[in-house]
């Protein structure tokens, strides 16, 4: 058991920052919200209705985790174009904008295997713009990013929220959002007594 007794809601244009030490369940919570994992108990609501169709939920959200999901044999543009085609979202113009935003335009036709860790992570984040959806779930998005890219990410999140988008992000570093709520996950760590489950 990672956490218990946790509840929150997020309105359009809202943002929430998950904070807590290692192992407090930030990644687990994000994956639960994405529908990649199932909770032992508890439920997920969208517009006050229980999520009964995980696929419809998946169409409304983008999850960017620790792994960048990049094919190194493809170029930067091909990587973005594949995901845009796979999700059936986005147009070529959006792909260009995504690369511009995260400073990848000059690298568009470079094979991804030549990119540095930070550039790869930017390529993963560029999917947020190339294939737009309302809800972004970001797991430590500022990891491996330099100051300029962090600034770009902060702006992108602000623009997304201004258009009514929602963001949930796990972070233990710099503030990427202004005026969002903060959820300290270590407050919900089960007690030792709860852990000692008498099966």
């Amino acid at each position: 058991m990672v956490f218990a007794g946790l509840g929150f809601e997020l309105a359009a244009g809202g943002a929430m920052v998950l904070r807590g030490p290692n192992g407090s369940g930030k990644t687990t919570l994000l994956r639960l919200m994405a529908g990649l994992a199932r909770p032992v108990a508890g439920r997920l609501l969208w517009s006050n209705a229980p999520v009964e169709d995980p696929e419809a939920l998946a169409r409304r959200l983008r999850f960017i985790g620790h792994q960048d999901a990049i094919k190194t044999a493809f170029t930067v543009r091909e990587n973005l174009a594949f995901w845009a085609a796979f999700w059936g979202t986005g147009e070529p113009a959006l792909i260009d904008r995504a690369m511009d935003t995260f400073g990848l335009a000059a690298l568009a036709d470079f094979p991804a295997r030549l990119l540095s860790a930070g550039q790869r992570h930017r390529l993963a984040l560029a999917r947020l713009i190339a294939s737009p959806v309302p809800l972004w779930l970001l797991d430590e998005p500022a990891n491996a990013l330099d100051d300029r890219s962090t600034g770009a990410l902060t702006n992108t999140i602000a623009e997304h929220r201004a258009r009514g988008g929602m963001v949930v992000l796990a972070s233990h570093g710099a503030d990427l959002v202004t005026g969002g709520t903060t959820l300290a996950l270590d407050n919900f760590t089960p007690t030792a007594a709860q852990q000692w489950v008498e099966l």
Partner: protein, 221 residues
């Protein structure tokens, strides 16, 4: 369908860019087959008796070699999470992956098989039915193999475990695949064996994708 066709074309392009991977499988198929004349002796009579079985067994082992990588690369670089979040169905992802695997390993194996059968002195009546049997049998190999590959994602000794899980399930395909060829050579009708192979492929196509999708989802969990 956009997810299906996008994934299929991505896998095919990846296979083309990294064509060394597919070539390794074909090379393994050739080497494994060519070992037999050295093992059992070069007498044409002995070789032609075992030719059908040897080609089939070598094709199964070669396919097994490639199955290891069907999902594991996507699993390790985080692509699998994104593929599951496709907004349509995980079964579509599985079908695209299986079709891509069949096109990139099954088809080359089928094309290679008559050449290798020549080195094993397969009687001339056998070639047509050899290709036909492989054509009907290799889709089952890809379908069952994808299930095995999804089950062992993240396991210790995944490759060895994969062969333990998958090879027993290949036995029916092997039995009827070789029986079809033997029947033709001995002047019996091969049609019943071929229709069993087709039936097995249909049954596998009906059952395996669902199980594979379930296995993938719980591997990502």
């Amino acid at each position: 369908m956009s997810a299906f066709s996008a994934l299929l074309s991505r896998d095919l392009r990846l296979a083309l860019r990294q064509s060394a991977d597919s070539l390794t499988v074909i090379a393994f198929f050739a080497i494994a087959t060519v070992l037999f004349p050295f093992g059992v002796g070069p007498e044409a009579e002995v070789l032609s008796r075992i030719a059908a079985g040897v080609v089939w067994v070598a094709a199964l082992l070669a396919a097994l070699l490639s199955l290891d990588r069907v999902f594991v690369v996507d699993f390790e670089d985080g692509t699998l999470d994104q593929l599951i979040l496709n907004g349509q169905s995980t079964v579509l992802v599985v079908l695209a992956k299986v079709l891509a695997h069949w096109l990139t390993t099954g088809v080359p194996l089928i094309i290679m098989s008559p050449v290798l059968a020549v080195t094993l002195q397969l009687p001339s009546e056998g070639y047509g039915v050899l290709v036909l049997a492989l054509l009907l049998g290799t889709p089952t190999v890809s379908l069952i193999g994808a299930l095995g590959a999804a089950l062992v994602l993240g396991a210790r000794r995944g490759g060895v475990l994969l062969s333990l899980l998958v090879l027993p399930l290949y036995i029916p395909v092997l039995i009827f695949g070789t029986a079809a060829i033997e029947a033709t050579i001995t002047g019996m009708p091969s049609q019943p064996m071929l229709s069993i192979l087709a039936g097995l492929a249909l049954i596998a196509a009906a059952l395996c994708p669902f199980a594979t999708a379930a296995a993938l989802r719980q591997a990502a969990e």
